[in-house]
Symmetry: C3
Subunit: 669 residues, 3 copies
Amino acid sequence: MEELLYGAAYYDEYMPYERLDKDISMMKKAGINVIRIAESTWSTEEPEEGVFDFSHVTKVLDACEREGLYVIVGTPTYAIPAWMAKAYPEVMVTDRSGRRPYGARQIMDITHPAYRFFAERIIRRLMEAVAGYRCVIGFQLDNETKHFGTSSENVQQMFVRHMRKKYEGDLDRFNHDFGLDYWSNRINSWEEFPSVAGTINGSLGCEFEKFQRQLVTDFLKRQAEIVGEYKRADQFITHNFDFAWKGYSYGVQPDVDHFKAAEAVTIAGCDIYHPSQDKLTGKEIAFGGDLTRSLKKNNYFLIETEAQGFPEWTPYEGQLRLQAFSHLASGADSVMYWHWHSIHNACETYWKGLLSHDFEENAVYREACRIGGQFRELSPSLLHLKKENKAAIMVSNEALTALKWFPFPGNGANRTDYNDVVRWIYDALYEMNIECDFVSTQEEELSRYDVLFVPALYSAQEDCLKRIRDFAEQGGCVIATFKTAFTDENVKVRTQVQPYLLRDCFGVKYHQFTAPSGVKLAGDSFALTEEERNAELFMELLETEDAQVVSGYDHYAWKKYAAVTRKDFGKGLGIYFGCMTSPAYLKALLASLWKEKGWWTWKQEIPSPLVIREGTNGKGKRITYYLNYSGEAKACACGGSGRELFSQKAVTEGEILTVAPWDLLIVEA
Amino acid sequence: MEELLYGAAYYDEYMPYERLDKDISMMKKAGINVIRIAESTWSTEEPEEGVFDFSHVTKVLDACEREGLYVIVGTPTYAIPAWMAKAYPEVMVTDRSGRRPYGARQIMDITHPAYRFFAERIIRRLMEAVAGYRCVIGFQLDNETKHFGTSSENVQQMFVRHMRKKYEGDLDRFNHDFGLDYWSNRINSWEEFPSVAGTINGSLGCEFEKFQRQLVTDFLKRQAEIVGEYKRADQFITHNFDFAWKGYSYGVQPDVDHFKAAEAVTIAGCDIYHPSQDKLTGKEIAFGGDLTRSLKKNNYFLIETEAQGFPEWTPYEGQLRLQAFSHLASGADSVMYWHWHSIHNACETYWKGLLSHDFEENAVYREACRIGGQFRELSPSLLHLKKENKAAIMVSNEALTALKWFPFPGNGANRTDYNDVVRWIYDALYEMNIECDFVSTQEEELSRYDVLFVPALYSAQEDCLKRIRDFAEQGGCVIATFKTAFTDENVKVRTQVQPYLLRDCFGVKYHQFTAPSGVKLAGDSFALTEEERNAELFMELLETEDAQVVSGYDHYAWKKYAAVTRKDFGKGLGIYFGCMTSPAYLKALLASLWKEKGWWTWKQEIPSPLVIREGTNGKGKRITYYLNYSGEAKACACGGSGRELFSQKAVTEGEILTVAPWDLLIVEA
Amino acid sequence: MEELLYGAAYYDEYMPYERLDKDISMMKKAGINVIRIAESTWSTEEPEEGVFDFSHVTKVLDACEREGLYVIVGTPTYAIPAWMAKAYPEVMVTDRSGRRPYGARQIMDITHPAYRFFAERIIRRLMEAVAGYRCVIGFQLDNETKHFGTSSENVQQMFVRHMRKKYEGDLDRFNHDFGLDYWSNRINSWEEFPSVAGTINGSLGCEFEKFQRQLVTDFLKRQAEIVGEYKRADQFITHNFDFAWKGYSYGVQPDVDHFKAAEAVTIAGCDIYHPSQDKLTGKEIAFGGDLTRSLKKNNYFLIETEAQGFPEWTPYEGQLRLQAFSHLASGADSVMYWHWHSIHNACETYWKGLLSHDFEENAVYREACRIGGQFRELSPSLLHLKKENKAAIMVSNEALTALKWFPFPGNGANRTDYNDVVRWIYDALYEMNIECDFVSTQEEELSRYDVLFVPALYSAQEDCLKRIRDFAEQGGCVIATFKTAFTDENVKVRTQVQPYLLRDCFGVKYHQFTAPSGVKLAGDSFALTEEERNAELFMELLETEDAQVVSGYDHYAWKKYAAVTRKDFGKGLGIYFGCMTSPAYLKALLASLWKEKGWWTWKQEIPSPLVIREGTNGKGKRITYYLNYSGEAKACACGGSGRELFSQKAVTEGEILTVAPWDLLIVEA
């Protein structure tokens, strides 16, 4: 598309009374130019097995064709009709808790042939029904697809076939690689391979979850093939990826390998939900955006985000607009709300859309009107924002899952996990206005970056570790943390001295580790408070070989060990964190490094919560966003001369810019 | 009965050795004149299928007939014998967790034909066995009957038949009313109606729970029919209703519609258990009593309450007596303990009776002797206390259930629910010595009241809302809270501007709401502390149309919205709370209103924990209770001249009365 | 054995590569002279049903025979191979949650004939395979055997047969003893006896758990019979008993009757895991050691303890050595680690052995080398330490289980239980350097002791209570707590005045009890702080008959009742705690008593965390351990003259000894 998309999900099927014309009229007033339809409405599209009725879909398409709205059509496959569950109860997913009862969406077995048969048929019929419409600009495959924990007998058998093939039938190698002699778990014939539902072997458990993630990729690729048979060349295929959820979009998705699954689509898409009101920071918008942009190294669609959302998320004045432009600042080419109106029934009644249940204009709708107008006006400057970041964070589903099976010390539901380590790094960068990309463990082009962050890469293949080592040797700066390289791709602890293969890169080794209790970081010169010097979460007892100690442990029992180290390695640099630290410590270390390396710019001088995001637009001009994530006006020196886009006034470098509460400025150089 | 009943549950069946004569002798010494027997002892009454043995029952009846004790005979149907579960395992209830194993009471399927067959037979045999006894003054149907979550296949089918009949087979209307198109839940033939066990559609979930409550009503009515075939005209039928349990009797019972189920009995009964020692306030005694009295708008039986209760409830000296008279002050005609002696085995070993396990006289028994003597002496003055309250609180099972499916923001097991909103209001009135009735949403005679409180009436039929509106228009004062009128009887959000149908009554509307975070109430003149001005739980962003703002929101983002409003409407008044407030705020507002309206009396001048409860006795005389719910003596001015009943001394209006710790005075005017 | 054993569990089966020679070489360097092998490796020993391969076992035995290491061979029966679960799924245990899936160890039904058949066969084949080896010094039966909650239909039927036999078919007596009339639980034919899985009758529940414990004893005795057919006279049989687990070895094991099960072995063994670093106190080492030593009234084997353990247990320098000698100080004849190396896979990856995953020498291994050398050197002085303690604590599985069914007031997972009461007493003695034994409720030789502690003996047979009473009458001092004697052996509350049968021994009675809330202990002269005077957990309202009140309750409602009493009874003394108190109160009372009785010695003058443990060695000499459980050097006066064993220097009574941080001295008199 050559214009910014501004839109919402729309369900004519759910309307309590006929509203289509009125809704389209209100959308156009708000500058909305795209709606997303059809996903999740299978039971209206196929009310009986084999009986099809796309009248809701075509009615909306007719109106959009007439009124000039774009439409994204979603395949409806993530919510199955009651008739299917009644006639074929085996399509309901069986997870660790047993077979799930009918009711919710996303609880079918995505591998089951019966489900796959019906899914393919409804997709084909839908594609046929929408084929003639010019307003249809693209398709969304399913929605937030996952494996839903499927582990029924058929899936267990698929897994055994998968492992048998992977090991070419070699059981001895398999038993060895997965350490199955332990506790008599040895398998001596493929036929006696037990269900992994009860396994206490984390290697096997992680392998099964990797296999489950592959099921998602396969499912999406198959949907892409089907849709591909029908779509026009100008139509895109996308998917609505979502993130690990901690009450909001938080981190790397454990149940999908986004990098692999993104191969199924022509443009990546995602949904991002985040805290609001006083808790609005923009971090999730940036995190989810940077990650989704990294999937295909290109712009992406923001397919869903909150309008009013939960009651506690009702936005303050200005926040909806600040959020919308923040998405663009990450490289989104669209901002779409879930959803146009608020649902009157069922479990999402309090996940509110742009309109409340009364369909009246309200404060949020009025703010959307302002956003829509500015999107239309500024589209030529803001579309297709490109980034050339010098920092990247390597993320890994395998490490995430392995650290779920082998968690950090600590108890309870709120215990620190892999994503907390990732966010510890990401959030520090965000607060320092250092933009970054994400890379997968398969990434071959690390040399594009100056700095590579490697948080807790607990499980990794040897070639990935080699690429990290090479990156440093050839001039890059690697900043890795505790737990990195500890286990192989089968989550079996390496038998060599740790950190495996990176020992010379960082100039450290360790034989032991513990959990910090009353341990401070010593010997740093970062001028931190006592509390900011806490060693946190986990501590490796690092022995330096030829590294420089940045900080040791301030504790009588551990004072001979290093906590944070650095070493010049080849043409590059290796920095290693043996423990987690406070955000303040991490930021102080990065500031020191950035200054030393000459990477420190005016953006790092800007104090949070004023956020700077940059890129180059389609015209090759530099776009700089000044985003004020606070309820007070903030002033800062302008980073470069140009034109402020809302006011259309010229600004000069060094000029003091004032950004109103929950507001923003955009400067085009 | 024309005398106060004072009694206890008695189980000859459970006695470790023969004690009947000794027990009756001790009872008579304590002034106990009634015992409740037979419920829960099915396995002794019918040791084998079809073999009956009522010897325990008749032995006790013979003794009571001889010794002059009254007896209430309970049907034993709430605890089934082991033989039934063994031979007919299908009688065990299937709830969301599956079929329950045999062991506890109250875990059979009350709809199952096999259970119903055996229940009817044992009731008939029992009725025949006790038919000749004059000492039997009445019958209790079952005990604390509920539906026990029954949701087996047969109950699902009953529900489908029920809905099919209700909708006269019209599936389109049904799908529309329950919003089943959402997430493909649409049902296109009655045969494919899925079990609601997994539903995510709260409308359907609430309807099913309403249906389950109807099963309880039907069950009790059927028992009443059977008992009715045998009972004499002078014998009553009652039931032991219990309340929502939060570690004690707390609020409206979610699983029974008390108003409807009470139609099965000739006199309502209930049990009330409450915190003790320093946590004894009398609130639960008053709440449960006011609610039970309201069921049939008449006096009621207090059928069970704690004697010693749990270890942490062991009463301080004086508390047992204070409690006993407090029940009478609510309109109870009986006070009966659960139970006479403490059980030596099983799960209620630490729910202790009047006697401990050693059957000796103890401090609590000795206090009971004092109570029993005073009951007998004062019975003519205290029996049949009648009330004419000017305030009423409207309560609703439907609203309660709907707010369970659609809870207030917040997390965890202790999150605020419907009953907390009800108790927020009830407790404020109690602390102000304002007595009230409860009314159901079906109540047609609201005009008896000056004030009607409507807490969080989240789901309501249109005619109920109209009656509320009419009540205000014709001169009543309606005080309603947030969430009222939000959804229809199917728990589908109204599509009109809120508060639906009451918008002109209160002179407000709102399109949005949120959860308060650091929000205070502004603009009131109630002289409250900072903390007492907190907006709590939920806040609607009220826009006044022609209401007066009592308080706005003190927060920069919400300052243009109203929090609490009032409007003269017709001949009456509408007060609306857009948020929950501190008890102090609520009481301050009510005090202001009471003074304005001229309802303020000497009773409101009495500070808590001195509690005043009043009524008119059978002789037409005013009875005033002065209840001291504290460990310190309290003094107050006498509210009216008369005779203090314990001392038999005359008192005069304005005279200073001193009430000893955990003690009371009663003045008969 | 006539030398101290120092060793580790060793699994050639789990090695990622061939390491046997290297490992034995490292062991010998560390002074390790014994390894434990073969348990849990069934799947390598019998890879297919009926196909046996003991090559790993014999390979290790060959090397040990050659290199002079001792070996303990464990039967592998606690972890079943996958083929067994696949072919005979019925061997998996069915507990309250249903049938457990294959994966973990210790989840088979130990009563199932199929499992028993295979277990017997693998034991016999293993015994044959290891028969010729001189290095095999003994056998371990299974490991940490328990019943795993087995409650399948076959176990239910065994239980019914057991009860039927116990009651000689007398159902009336059975119903009476278990109070089954309550809630219609009466059983009128043995055939209709329901599964106890759902019972609410704690008497029945406790009886079933006692029956389950008997299954464990029977299982171990049967294994002992089989092993006994093969073993040489010089070979021992042991078992690895473990304790109630609260994140570490905490208290009396609920699922095994250690005293009865120990009859199956020739020498008792156990594992002890405990907090470390700043939380290391030595309490668990002493508690577990004293209890295991008491099982057979003899020395015992410490079969497993932590080397590095969990990350949070990584020992400070000196701690591993302090721990090792502390085990000897309790009477252990061995110290063995779980395990030699750290496992690279599965659920115990972070339960680390002496070696880390890299098999390198590390700080803990180097400390083990020091320990091993000193063990070898001091073995003649430290082996077979004997104790003659004057205090004993009576412990009871029956009381423990009964107090699980009838818990103390309070909520949540951390609520105080039986073991907390036991540890309240044990820990006070430990901190006072008063050593003690444990005795079972069957103990006939109480007269060996001066003092008998009876914590919360909630369920007890009459003859046990009589023995306690006799002990006091004949001159002993009984110190019993609340809840003692409350129920009979069927967990049915006694119908007599409490404390049953001990009323005259203590000179108190009570009819009521409550939970303390703001209650202090009054009237003591122990100079305690306000907080140390709290009444805790549970309080009986004691009425003294002829006892002396040590402390009353400081609360207006309970001030007439006693809290702690003492009475001279016969030639002895009865002290009764009606409530739990602070450790400070308990220790103050004991100090007072010890001084009064003349039991107070120099050891009680030594302040915690300096711990004194004593005994007599094989040469008849007194051995005194001075253990410093702190990170600071501690000084104290030497308790008796002799030779300090590490320094081989003479010490004299009264001389000031200084013990380094986490270090110890040993004096041989």
